[in-house]
Amino acid sequence: DAGVTQSPTHLIKTRGQQVTLRCSPKSGHDTVSWYQQALGQGPQFIFQYYEEEERQRGNFPDRFSGHQFPNYSSELNVNALLLGDSALYLCASSLVGTAWAYEQYFGPGTRLTVT
């Protein structure tokens, strides 16, 4: 049973560029959440996708956008990259409406470095 997978593992971009990160949820899960973890900090909620719609959003600017596909996989897009966007981006999946919805399964993350 494949867990949550993310690609790429590492990425280096230049300020002002755009980036797309990808996530495949755990088999059987229908909801994908994205988190940003800066160095020395805990993960911060970016947004969540369910049924191909953004269901909730954290305190992140519109430069951060996402998408969910019919197979439940998801993309995170960040436009006009800033140095402060350098972080580990984590994807988590869950099955909405279940007693275990909070117990999200996390992928290994994508390490984004903006220079």
Partner: protein, 113 residues
């Protein structure tokens, strides 16, 4: 505004002894709390959770205690094992069905053999 706080960045404990990790929160609307464990180069892994209607939940060597009046929870690991060395995150959420998690900054636990 850090709504979930873990004031100890690191903790070292002798193997076989009890490890106690602490977490404080400020938002009284939080009603479900979780602990996650993170190894380097891996994503956080769910460990144990507790609902605000309870004050204790046990799962093997792990016990979480919740003190709602103090807005404080703690994770007890007994006995501590070398494989427990990791970063532990406390997380909280509001309202059943809302899976947005608010995380603390983490505590790095080192178990000394």
């Amino acid at each position: 505004d850090q709504q979930v706080k873990q004031n100890s960045p690191s903790l070292s404990v002798q193997e076989g002894r009890i490890s106690i990790l602490n977490c404080d929160y400020t938002n009284s609307m939080f009603d479900y709390f979780l602990w996650y464990k993170k190894y380097p180069a891996e994503g956080p892994t769910f460990l144990i959770s507790i609902s605000s209607i309870k004050d204790k939940n046990e799962d093997g060597r792990f016990t979480v205690f919740l003190n709602k009046s103090a807005k404080h929870l703690s994770l007890h690991i007994v006995p501590s094992q070398p494989g427990d060395s990791a970063v532990y995150f406390c997380a909280a959420t509001i309202n059943f069905g809302n899976e947005k998690l608010t995380f603390g900054t983490g505590t790095r636990l080192t178990i000394i053999p």
